[in-house]
């Protein structure tokens, strides 16, 4: 390795004068002459102060502009191209996604168990910036968010129906005619998609970025992960390309989800209050979400994103507790353990990348999810890296990998389990027959106080979006500012507005789902980026001193 990491201890502060924080202990900075921001353009020529990475900002803005124009103008020509690319990827290269996903989980679990877990992010004596409640709320709100609302009822039920009928899209060939076996398989498959694997991808990106930024002193952008492989070349074009890809995946991932989320919220409002389900309603929703996200990005991470994430967690917890209490409580309680058990039993078969006989399930569900999680990983990973300084690697991985998996098991058991129970015990077919984005409301409709809970459901959909949108804008801003997090505020305002504008343009002009296919397609290059990340992460962690003292969680 030409550019190896040097053992270069940072010097201790010269004097312990008033107010200087004690040194955060031994870490292992990478020796580079690159000065963060050296390729930036800082000016206030146009009346607005800016500080941007010249190449990453201009190229990514151009790519975004061209893509939006092409998608809008040549919709009929490009839509099949995007969706074709995507179905080719999930159809023929699904093994790459599945294989990569398994590697991420195994590497993460391996690090938890190995002595590398003792390394502390930010140096051996660093202390956490956030308490457990605020930290975990931000991790979860950025990482899962909206999908839990959308798929919490829809996915278990779809798998259940497919497995019961033994149709082509059933997980592991299904369990035709056996309701109990079909239910267990459906829960296992859903939890598989929302459990260790998505969080494994986030954990790899988040942890690598955190280690290379806080312990190695490289800027907080995707390219830094490549230092052990590319060395100083990451400051040139190879690095620019990686960063532009990250901006692209993040912005379009957010914009398309914003559009799709507005569709679900609007459908819900229509179901509940007879609000006309039109473009106007959706545009108003996007404007509203963007406005709140704007306030949040201006207020910053502590006062904006953190507080909203906590509100979000509290609301989600309320709804979850309600479903557990009002639904089949005992079945959910025992279901938590049996579902966890059937998840672990079916996990090896579900995660197997080769020689699968349930191709419909793998291509239609698993590969799609993996591409989707991986294309979101730069955004989620970078955000969770930023708020995780001072945590030990083991603590980080437990909080990012294991705790969310358990929360997902509980959530899916409560929402999906209740819906399946309604079918099996009550013979209620309403949820099964409802449209995909109405399934949640149809399930809640069978429980008491449904108008209140459905309303909370809609509010949650919206708040989940705001918390993704604001943290996403902060991430894009820091990538396009060359890793600077203290660039002038108008930049983050620009990105938050752009996100909303793209979502509206695509919603009105069409092409939302085509572009979603395009942004999910970035999952393939990022799978390779993440595989490299695994190597870099282990190499980076090996050269770090293990933490001796255990800093207290604030």
């Amino acid at each position: 390795m030409a550019n190896s990491v040097r053992n270069d201890q940072p010097k201790a502060p010269a004097a312990e004068s008033e107010g200087i924080p004690s040194p955060d202990g031994p870490a292992n900075l990478i020796d580079t002459d690159y000065v963060i921001g050296q390729d930036n353009i800082a000016t206030s020529k146009f009346g607005v102060p800016v500080d941007l990475h010249s190449v990453v900002f201009s190229v990514s803005s151009l790519v975004i502009l061209v893509f939006v124009i092409i998608t809008l103008a040549l919709q009929e020509q490009v839509a099949p191209l995007f969706t074709g690319t995507f179905s080719y990827l999930t159809g023929n290269l699904s093994w790459v996604f599945l294989f990569g996903g398994n590697v991420f989980v195994l590497v993460s679990l391996g690090i938890v168990l190995s002595p590398l877990g003792k390394v502390r992010i930010g140096g051996a004596n660093a202390t956490p910036n956030y308490g457990y409640a605020g930290w975990f709320a931000m991790l979860f709100a950025a990482g899962m968010g909206i999908g839990l609302m959308f798929f919490g009822v829809a996915e278990p039920l779809s798998h259940f129906s497919a497995a019961f009928e033994g149709s082509a899209g059933a997980p592991l060939g299904g369990a035709a005619g056996d309701q109990q076996a079909a239910a267990s398989l459906a829960m296992a498959a859903t939890i598989f998609h929302w459990g260790l694997h998505p969080w494994g991808a986030y954990a790899i990106v988040g942890l690598s970025l955190a280690i290379f930024a806080f312990n190695k002193g490289l800027p907080l952008t995707m390219r830094s992960i490549f230092y052990p492989i590319l060395g100083e070349r990451i400051w040139g074009w190879p690095g620019h390309v990686i960063d532009v890809l990250a901006v692209f995946a993040t912005l379009f991932g957010l914009a398309t989800s914003l559009g799709l989320g507005a569709t679900q919220a609007s459908t819900g409002l229509n179901y509940l209050f007879d609000v006309p389900n039109t473009n106007v309603t959706m545009v108003v929703l996007i404007l509203g979400i963007t406005a709140v996200a704007l306030l949040s990005v201006v207020a910053g991470v502590d006062k904006g994103v953190q507080r909203l994430s906590q509100v979000n967690m509290a609301l989600a917890f309320l709804l979850l507790s309600f479903v557990i209490a009002a639904g089949p409580t005992l079945a959910i309680a025992t279901g938590f353990f049996t579902n966890l058990g059937s998840y672990l039993t079916h996990l090896p078969a579900l995660a197997n990348p080769f020689g699968r006989e349930d191709a419909g399930f793998v291509h239609g569900w698993t590969a799609f999810y993996w591409a989707w999680w991986i294309s979101w990983s730069p955004f989620v990973g970078m955000f969770i890296a930023r708020v995780s300084r001072g945590r030990s690697v083991r603590e980080f991985l437990i909080a990012v990998l294991l705790v969310p998996t358990l929360v997902s098991v509980l959530w899916m058991t409560a929402f999906g389990g209740t819906a399946i129970d309604q079918v099996i015990s009550d013979g209620f077919q309403g949820v099964q027959n409802a449209d995909l984005d109405l399934k949640l409301f149809a399930m809640l409709g069978q429980l008491p106080l449904s108008s209140i809970t459905s309303f909370v459901g809609i509010v949650l959909v919206i708040v989940f979006f705001v918390t993704s949108s604001d943290s996403g804008s902060l991430v894009i801003d820091s990538i396009t500012a060359g890793g600077k997090v203290d660039a002038p505020k108008p930049q983050r305002i620009f990105w938050a507005i752009l996100e909303g504008a793209i979502a509206i343009a695509l919603l009105l002009g069409g092409g939302l789902s085509a572009l979603q296919a395009a942004s999910v397609s970035t999952g393939l290059p990022f799978t390779l980026v993440l595989l490299v990340g695994c190597y870099s992460l282990i190499k980076g962690l090996m050269s770090e001193p293990r933490s001796v003292s255990k800093a207290k969680g604030a």
Binding site: P13, E18, I20, D24, I36, G37, F214, G217, D486
Partner: protein
């Protein structure tokens, strides 16, 4: 009249803040006051320093160097923030109290239309502290 002057410093833009540094030095001499240089830095690597500790070291060196120019006692205080751009005002208002400063000399930009949306940091600090504030404009 003033015993302790707090001077917020942005080590990345020394040229812009030079007038406020001069004003602070002159007032420190005149009132025989102590000067505390305060820097707010991101926990993530930045253009000035790659770790908060390195930032603290640079700020302390800067304070000592400035002390040689005006001859008054100096100190420095580095504060780490996850999102310094958003939390600057809060952080400075807090620092005024912890330091016990009775005068703050800080740089500010010339008034412009953007102030309606994003008010200048200096004016926001002035709104929220009992200490006297001297806002110094950049050179014309």
């Amino acid at each position: 009249m003033f015993n302790k002057i707090m001077v917020p410093v942005d080590l990345a833009h020394l040229k812009v803040i030079e007038p406020s540094l001069q004003a602070a030095a002159d007032m420190a001499r005149y009132y025989q006051a102590e000067v505390c240089y305060v820097g707010v830095t991101a926990v993530t690597p930045g253009s000035v320093a790659r770790t908060p500790e390195e930032y603290a070291q640079k700020l302390e060196a800067f304070a000592q160097e400035r002390g040689k120019i005006h001859g008054q006692p100096v100190s420095s205080k580095t504060i780490q923030r996850v999102d310094p751009a958003a939390d600057l005002v809060d952080t400075l208002v807090e620092a005024i109290d912890t330091i016990g400063a009775d005068l703050v000399v800080m740089p500010t930009h010339a008034p412009h239309h953007l102030d309606i949306v994003i008010p200048a940091n200096g004016s926001q600090v002035a709104h929220r502290t009992g200490a006297s504030i001297f806002l110094v404009r950049p050179p014309q």
